[in-house]
């Protein structure tokens, strides 16, 4: 259920801080950022799981970096200033980190590589935590559990792209919504 953003009162400073911090957990290509956002705002009840998932889903369908989904998270948290704050939050650490890395690539690589071996396990743990956190906040029917595990298996073993997963889920959802809410209910 989409809620109005007018009643939300997350400050832009908080948005910038959390997003900037979460950006640091994008190490190694894993999206640890999702886990930080889920933990800070979704688990705390500030942002609904549906809106969080919605923003992330849209981010997979647009061109450019997938991290652009944070604009949607920011909008749902604090309107347009929140969206802008999220982009600033992503841009600041990235600009600094990328510039430093570009300048001292070889020197920095040694330090970063210290944490690289373990980063995969840590980010896996963060994503697992985020997945559990979202699942706890969503009403899931028994058959939907199968759907979730089927998706997880396909993503893991068949390397399904996020856009494919989100697109398929959207199609299933729209068919289900259309059938249940329009046809069946009107007939009976």
């Amino acid at each position: 259920m989409i809620e109005s953003t007018e009643s939300l009162s997350v400050g832009v400073v908080e948005v910038v801080s959390v997003i900037a911090f979460s950006t640091l957990f994008s190490l190694g290509g894993g999206n640890g950022q999702l886990a930080i956002i889920q933990d800070h705002w979704v688990a705390a009840g500030v942002l609904s799981p549906a809106l969080f998932a919605w923003a992330y889903a849209i981010g997979n369908f647009v061109p450019g970096p997938k991290v652009s989904f944070v604009a949607g998270v920011g909008y749902f948290l604090a309107g347009f200033p929140g969206a802008f704050a999220c982009l600033i939050g992503v841009a600041i650490p990235t600009a600094i980190g990328a510039s430093l890395a570009a300048h001292w690539y070889e020197r920095m690589r040694g330090y970063v590589e210290i944490f690289l071996p373990v980063s995969g396990f840590v980010i896996a743990g963060m994503m697992l935590t985020a997945g559990i956190g979202l699942a706890v906040h969503v009403e899931i029917a028994h058959w939907e559990v199968l759907f979730v595990f089927a998706v997880a298996g396909l993503v893991w073993l068949r390397r399904w792209d996020p856009a494919l997963v989100v697109g398929l889920a959207a199609v299933i959802g729209s068919l289900r919504g259309f059938v249940l809410d329009s046809w069946v209910l009107s007939i009976f």
Binding site: Q33, H40, G64, P65, S68, F80, T94, A102, A124, F147
Partner: protein
């Protein structure tokens, strides 16, 4: 730094240089705005297009430098595609170039996300939209769990490393949901403790 030596093997910097094609900030904006508008699927998926635009057409970087920057972007703590754009921007025009490059590559996608979110807010009462959101939410949960498994098994580690890794990975949700500790603390603790547990150097991918 002597011209012509930068970017060579053993060189410690790949920063802005004289030999790099010098574009104005506005030209950098136009270039990365266009890349941000046409590249789908993340940095690796956009590799060919990036090569065509940055290496073949504009000769801003060489093919080897592109690969080097992509690897660098993957190992620094930032979204890969953004970091890559910022590093290329830095090579062209220093820190200002980095900022302009990442803002311009982020702008098209972020604008579309924002428009979609605003429109979906307008349709908040739609049962169809709610059904779609519910399904997408389930898909995202599956996506997170699947990606967690992928990240865990990435690297073709030995059984011994995987067992130790299991403690590192499982320790985070245990700390968050059973101990009720903050995720950030769990992640930082896992990163530090895990580094010692795995003893750097033992985890060498087979490929």
């Amino acid at each position: 730094m002597q011209e012509g030596q930068e970017g060579s093997p053993g060189d410690e910097t790949i920063g802005p240089r004289e030999t790099c094609a010098r574009l104005s900030l506005f030209q950098i904006f136009k270039l990365f705005f266009r890349l941000g508008s046409v590249c789908f699927g993340g940095m690796w998926a956009a590799m060919d297009r990036l090569e065509r635009e940055l290496v073949d057409k504009r000769k801003i970087i060489t093919s080897e430098e592109q690969k080097s920057l992509m690897l660098a972007a993957a190992i620094i703590p930032a979204p890969k595609f953004l970091a890559f754009a910022a590093m290329v921007g830095y090579r062209i025009h220093g820190f200002g170039g980095a900022v302009v490059a990442l803002i311009s590559i982020l702008f098209p996608g972020a604008s579309l996300v924002l428009i979609a979110c605003v429109l979906s807010t307008q349709a908040a009462d739609s049962a169809l939209l709610n059904a779609v959101q519910h399904s997408v939410g389930l898909g995202v949960i599956g996506l997170l769990l699947g990606n967690a498994a992928r990240m865990f098994f990435a690297g073709n580690h030995s059984i011994s490393i995987l067992i130790r890794g299991l403690f590192i990975t499982a320790g985070i949700p245990v700390f968050v949901y059973l101990v009720q500790g903050p995720l950030i603390v769990a992640a930082c603790l896992s990163l530090i403790c895990g580094t010692f547990i795995l003893r750097v150097g033992e985890v060498i991918p087979n490929d």
